[in-house]
């Protein structure tokens, strides 16, 4: 059985290896930056016969405080980098099988890098697209 909640939690565990980054496997009501939020966007069924392959498309929202714009931009630059200790892609792909929950995963891209307004607060944010194959 595909345990979607367990997959989200394991992705959050991988993200949690980034020092100082809070993680949320579910979309929270209140944002407490810097935080990475795992959100399930869509599921493609029947990639193989007998439901042999299901593709889950996740968006990982990364939100940082914009209290100091330069600091916020530098922090975001580290998160969107393809490699490095603060790289979201590297952290998520550090265990591509998510403790044997899935067949494979890949962080495809990062988009919408820039300002984000939530509850009258300005943040810096980025959206990572990740495909998980089950």
């Amino acid at each position: 059985m595909t345990d979607i909640q367990a997959i989200r939690e394991r992705m959050a565990v991988n993200l949690g290896t980034i020092s100082g980054l809070r993680t949320a496997e579910n979309v929270p009501d209140i944002v407490n930056p810097p935080v990475a939020v795992v959100s399930l966007e869509q599921i493609a069924f029947d990639g193989a016969f007998n439901q042999g392959l299901t593709t889950l498309e996740f968006t990982i929202f990364v939100v940082v405080s914009r209290a100091d714009e330069r600091t916020a931009q530098r922090k975001l630059n580290q998160y969107v980098a393809p490699t490095g200790a603060f790289s979201i892609k590297s952290a998520v792909e550090s265990d591509r099988r998510l403790n044997n929950l899935v067949a494979d995963l890949r962080v495809r891209s990062v988009t919408n890098i820039g300002s984000l307004q939530l509850d009258d607060q300005e943040y810096m944010a980025a959206e990572f697209a990740a495909a998980v194959y089950v």
């Binding site: 990639g47 193989a48 016969f49 007998n50 494979d104 890949r106 194959y133």
Partner: protein, 136 residues
């Protein structure tokens, strides 16, 4: 009888169920065209059916894990394998016929795919001998 969407065809190779690694199956049956045109054909060509043949095409997701389809096929190149394909189901019935054939495993692509793609490969095998089908 009803039209159907392909979701659950069953494919086995030498008795091993590889359905959950298979994304497409196509079994084509052919009969050779044997020309019988003569002076009595009134300006038209005439043909009759000759020898029958078949071709099985399968698209797989690569998997080198223990018991995975890649591991299975790489050791079978050059051999005759037994293939069973059940259309639209996991058990043979009147509406989900089961086709059984032997085929020459004459090719295998162990490595394929571009960066970022899901690793897949496609094979096409010529059948050898009869292609039979059952409904039970």
């Amino acid at each position: 009888m009803a039209k159907y969407v392909v979701t659950s065809q069953k494919v086995t190779v030498n008795g091993t169920d590889v359905s959950d690694a298979c994304a497409r199956a196509e079994l084509v049956l052919n009969a050779a065209e044997v020309e019988t045109t003569d002076f009595g054909s009134a300006g038209w060509t005439e043909v009759v059916g000759g020898l029958k043949s078949g071709q099985l095409t399968l698209d797989f997701h690569s998997d080198f894990g223990a018991g995975g389809v890649s591991e299975l096929l790489q050791d079978l190149v050059g051999t005759i394998g037994t293939f069973v394909v059940i259309a639209n189901g996991t058990a043979a019935s009147a509406t989900t016929p089961e086709y059984t054939t032997t085929a020459l495993i004459n090719s295998f692509t162990p490595v394929a795919g571009a960066v970022g793609d899901l690793a897949t490969f496609s094979v096409t095998f010529p059948t050898t001998g009869e292609v039979s089908y059952g409904t039970a």
